[in-house]
């Protein structure tokens, strides 16, 4: 039987096709169940063809979405960029500095408060979470004149008045100091009470000291110290570059220094406020209230207060543009549906189901939204980059933004296309064919 059917097929293609059709008819339900699907590649083709059939209209339709997405992306990006600049550049040094000092108001209490500050600040402060470095410092009162040993150049004046400071080991890091020649003193020097000194670059220049291999000495008043390093820079305390710094132990021994005047702390970004609360307690558990703490105002709070208003305005404008864009897409898609009534009838006649028709118009409106989103994201990013460029900022962009923006556009298109697509799908094929001739 099967062979005869096959033979008859080869004899007459037409009859074979018909018999094939009838066997399909017999298994109608099965055939209906395995109904072939509208392929995705075809949907993409039809969508592109539909959108590009009226390119000018499509371009104008996407404009609202472009504006909406662009302003959203630009607003988010610029505020992100600006926000990170505030912390990132000019305020960074101040934002990470906390200073604890003895209160100077009232003569008697100043003495007492000063007495509360300890020298071993590193062991008390550095364990706090958010501290980068800390150091204590006190200025030596009346150190006397400073001279070099041996006399380098008899012709030059080699006796000067130079500020002298006593400090703990951590000061160098806490003020972001840089040593160009030699070294900073370490805890060994402190413990041994070594008479060593680090001189500022300005002082070194005044005394003509540029090499330390001969272990030059300087007299501070009548006390001899060995120069072990030259301090080139100190970002938090520029005055140190024109001063001499000695370990606090030798200063106690030789220069009549007793207690530190202030403690300088470098914190992580954003930790300054917290450290400002914790440091006095760590330094003087019983007299914290007698200490004066200098900490930056919370920069994000003050600047964001202004920025948030601006941001919210722009975000609102962006959202309004998006809604307008969505209405635009909905409107144009609806007009398109009406114009293409005949096409809808034809497609139904060619085998399209209501679902296929809805899918086509939905994907056309979604495509317009997607393109609007892509162009909008591009325009937004260009805006961010040019605004950042004009203010010499580094543009900062969240990675999700350029990815989410086109999706948001597609979503707008999808929502906008819902009603027109349903209208298109609901059309009766007969009416659509008759109306659209």
């Amino acid at each position: 039987m099967a062979s005869i059917v096959r033979a008859s097929r080869s004899r007459s293609g037409r009859a074979a096709r018909r018999s094939a059709r009838d066997s399909r008819a017999a298994a109608r339900d099965a055939a209906a169940a395995s109904r072939p699907r509208f392929r995705f590649a075809d949907l993409v083709d039809e969508t592109l063809a539909g959108v590009f059939a009226r390119p000018a209209r499509a371009a104008l339709t996407t404009l609202g979405t472009v504006l909406g997405i662009a302003s959203l992306v630009a607003t988010l990006g610029i505020s992100r960029t600006a926000g990170s600049q505030i912390v990132g550049r000019f305020d960074e040094l101040a934002a990470t500095q906390v200073t604890v000092a003895a209160r100077t108001t009232g003569s008697g209490s100043a003495e007492r408060a000063a007495a509360l500050l300890p020298w071993d600040v590193e062991s008390r402060i550095d364990r706090l979470n958010g501290v980068v470095a800390s150091g204590a410092v006190a200025e030596v009162s009346n150190p006397g004149t400073v001279r070099t040993v041996p006399l380098r150049d008899p012709e030059n004046v080699t006796e000067r008045l130079v500020p002298v400071y006593a400090s703990s080991v951590g000061l160098l890091d806490a003020v972001r100091g840089e040593i160009s020649v030699g070294r900073w003193f370490d805890s060994g020097h402190v413990q041994r009470r070594d008479r060593v000194a680090v001189i500022g670059a300005d002082v070194a220049a005044q005394f003509g000291i540029d090499r330390l291999d001969a272990q030059p000495g300087i007299f501070i008043g009548d006390e001899l110290f060995t120069v072990i390093g030259i301090l080139d820079a100190a970002a938090r305390d520029e005055g140190l570059v024109s001063s001499i710094v000695v370990p606090y132990t030798s200063a106690q021994d030789r220069l009549q220094v007793s207690r530190p005047e202030r403690v300088v702390i470098e914190t992580d970004i954003g930790a300054a406020q917290l450290i400002a609360e914790q440091a006095p307690i760590a330094l003087a558990p019983n007299g914290a209230e007698a200490l004066k703490v200098t900490a930056p105002r919370d920069p994000t709070r003050t600047k964001n207060a202004v920025q948030d208003d601006v941001n919210q305005l722009f975000l609102l404008l962006g959202l309004i543009s998006l809604v307008v864009g969505a209405i635009g897409i909905a409107n144009v898609t609806l007009v398109t549906v009406m114009e293409r009534t005949g096409e809808i009838g034809l497609r139904r006649a060619l085998g399209a189901s209501r679902r296929h028709i809805a899918l086509q118009f939905l994907s056309e409106s979604m495509a317009m939204g997607l393109v609007g989103g892509i162009i909008g994201a591009t325009v937004g990013i260009i805006t961010i980059v040019s605004v950042a460029g004009s203010r010499q900022w580094t543009p900062v962009l969240d990675l999700w933004l350029p990815l989410a923006a086109p999706l948001a556009g597609a979503l707008v298109g999808l929502i906008a296309g819902l009603y027109p697509s349903i209208r298109a799908a609901r059309m009766e094929p007969v009416d659509a064919l008759r109306a659209g001739t």
């Binding site: 062979s3 209906a32 039809e46 096409e343 497609r347 060619l350 189901s353």
Partner: protein, 239 residues
């Protein structure tokens, strides 16, 4: 031949399944007053028949064609297409059967102006889910069959009326339909173009296609082997 003895079903049996079988089909439009566009229509169309439906305007010809093409449902009566009872089919299934079994040719061509000739023809298999390459190949073949293989990349606007209708016929032929339904296919064509379309129908019928043509034009009706007349929603065979 022993196979026939063993199995009582003759090989030719599928040939005898009518393409169209209407049994007491009525279509009443629920307007005020209701319009009985089809009244108890009985019609059988066998494979490879070429039938012309004639009759005055408003007699129900288009309504009949819409029912036959699964674009409209009868109010009552039975319609078997290729032996399938169409009453059992849901909306989506009707769309699928329409795409698979029916080829439509309209008076106004219904070509998409923004697609090429080839794409217009290929559209016919879009919802059958065939792949693009096969579809293009078959569209080319179908256009070859109607003598328009030199117009593949043209836009419909650049074609003459006769050429447009032949493109529409190529499109209708694409899914290897059981039935070609034509509503006034030559209504917008001049004599020469009408002639070329009618010649094409003759060829197609010889190749085994079942054709049903609605027409006002007695010359068009003369070319069919069988004529039925529609008057006031009722169908009568013309001798």
């Amino acid at each position: 031949m022993t196979a026939v003895d063993v199995d009582p079903t003759p090989v030719e049996a599928p040939e005898r399944t009518p393409v169209v079988l209407l049994d007491q089909v009525c279509r009443v439009f629920p307007t005020e007053p209701p319009v009985e566009a089809l009244r108890s229509i009985d019609l059988r169309v066998d494979p490879s028949e070429y039938v012309a439906i004639i009759g005055p305007s408003g007699s129900g010809k288009s309504t009949l064609l819409n029912v036959l093409g699964l674009l409209d449902r009868p109010t009552s009566g039975r319609y078997l297409l290729d032996g399938i009872d169409t009453a059992d089919l849901g909306d989506a299934a009707r769309a699928a059967e329409r795409g698979r079994r029916i080829g439509f040719v309209f008076q106004s061509f219904h070509l998409l102006s923004y697609r090429t000739v080839e794409e217009n023809v290929g559209l016919s298999e879009l919802y059958l889910g065939t792949n693009r390459k096969d579809r293009r190949r078959r569209a080319t073949e179908a256009l070859d069959r109607v003598g328009l293989s030199h117009r593949l990349g043209f836009e419909p606007i650049r074609l003459s009326g006769g050429e447009r209708q032949r493109v529409a016929i190529a499109r209708a032929l694409l899914g290897e339909p059981s039935l070609l339904l034509c509503d006034e296919p030559t209504g917008n064509l001049d004599t020469a173009n009408t002639e070329s379309v009618l010649d094409l129908f003759d060829d197609l019928r010889e190749q085994g296609l079942t054709i049903l043509v609605i027409t006002h034009d007695s010359e068009v009706a003369e070319r069919a082997q069988r004529r039925v007349r529609m008057v006031d929603g009722q169908l009568t065979e013309v001798a």
